[in-house]
Amino acid sequence: MALGRRAGARPPIAGWLRGYRRAWLGRDAVAGLVAACVVVPQAIAYAGLAGLPVQVGLYAAFVPMLVYAALGTSRALSVSVTSTVSILTAEAIAGSSDPRAAAAVLAIVVGAILIVAGLARVGFLADFISLPILAGYKAGTGLFIISGQLGKILGIPVGGTGFFENVGDIVGGLDDISWATLAVGAATIGLLLVMGRGSPRVPAPLVAVVLGIAAVSVLDLADHGVDVVGSVPAGLPGFELPSFSGWRDLVPAAGGIALMATVESLAAGRALLRRDDPPLDANRELIALGAANLGGGVFQAYPGSGGLSQSAVNDDAGARTQLSSVVCAGVVVLVLTVLTGVLNDLAQATLGALVVVAAASLVKPSELRLIARVRTRDFVLALVALAGVLVPACSRESSSPSPSRS
């Protein structure tokens, strides 16, 4: 009986492929399909959070996911896009002349940093994160994301430059609320919360998206002031070396994203570890995530990482190997090639609601309360980290339109 986990010999690429049993195929296929029900809506919603068009989110759930499936050491980790990395991306590419190229270059730089870190075997550094500071940072990020997305739910333009600025935009724009938009947004949030409490097996995001599209098309809500996604270019992303002259300016942001991606993905991977799973090799994970980001960068995506919510769904649905992620990526391919027309009537309010509910889970009042009870000094650190996210405003103009005040 081993108390400490000992890493075994290095498995080959796609180690899960060797010795794969037919009996696992059904479980992996089902898990992949179920995971896609969460991954696809999140990819679409988080691309908007990053300030990028919808299809770029789907690109980021395609090649990166496959690359990780080939190189990663976690059984059920689902690598696509996450809210934290998406909002960091938004800040990094804000105000740039070519956001899509900037985002792709950002992914390449993030990938390079992660690979170098993995090769330099600094994966152990991820064990050094102070939990209270992380909790405060995540809470601040969640609040900041919500402040930006509320505009989508209310139909009010929000500048996205800073938390207090966003709140100001919302309060100032309350006269211009679009009630139809709010109805869609509030109903979606209600649905997500109710389903979240009820049956965890039924992927709430997919249901929300389907019902939202149905409501908009049947009730012609687009003519009642509800913003919709509109036409989405169909097709898979081609190989493209992005060129962006200002890439050196992206390096600090890429460093922050690489750190966040590492912390998130390793935490998710560890949370999913079962007794008989081989241990995670942090440095191999860094290399796999780096390669995934590199792959994404040359296939028109933006930075991604392993998200806990998607991975937990994948795991709960019975994922036995990374084949589940291959299946999930297959669904993304299906959406990109055949189903983009369906997305035309997808309301921005639905996407906003998805992001708000996901971002709310970043703010963990019970954890913050526990920290406060256990050690006040650490709670202060958490508050400082939270303030560190909320107080500074973006120095550059964000790419979303500024509100016009009457």
């Binding site: 009986m1 256990v374 050690r375």
Partner: protein, 148 residues
């Protein structure tokens, strides 16, 4: 010249961090058979607790035969951060999953309060001193003969 100063400061800091990150973990000698007592020395914070828990796990792993009771003697730990509390709790839970009884000794009043507020975990016994724990172990031995 200035760069040289910066390099020197950076190297000193890194050395300090490296040393602080590997607090020594002592296995206390002279304990009754079946009672494994480990004593980490130094403040436990986010940057060093994982190294300590990894070594504690390795020590418990290497113990042959497996002890009945693993005791964490905290007398040489002047302070604990929240992250360290979480890491110790996780280690305790894993030890429990392997059937080990977990005791803690030598905690200061404030540390004990912190651990209790976070939650020590089921069936974790605490004692003020190591001597108290040894006495309790020998009493337990009287009423529970050694497992075959």
């Amino acid at each position: 010249m200035l760069q040289g100063v910066l390099v020197a400061v950076a190297v000193s800091l890194l050395t300090f961090i490296y040393q602080a990150n590997k607090p020594p973990v002592e296995i206390v000698e002279g304990m009754p058979d079946g009672m494994l007592v480990v004593r980490p020395a130094g403040r436990l914070y986010a940057a060093n607790v994982k190294s300590v828990t990894a070594r504690l796990a390795a020590i418990a792993d290497a113990a042959d035969p497996l002890p009945e009771v693993v005791v964490l003697d905290a007398v040489a730990i002047p302070d604990l951060e929240y992250t360290a509390v979480v890491a110790l709790r996780e280690l305790g839970d894993e030890a429990r999953a392997h059937g080990l009884a977990r005791w803690v000794t030598g905690l200061r009043a404030e540390q004990l309060r912190m651990l209790e507020r976070f939650g020590l975990g089921p069936d974790v016994r605490t004692f003020a001193t190591l001597d108290d724990a040894v006495a309790a172990f020998e009493e337990r031995r009287l009423f529970r003969p050694r497992r075959a």
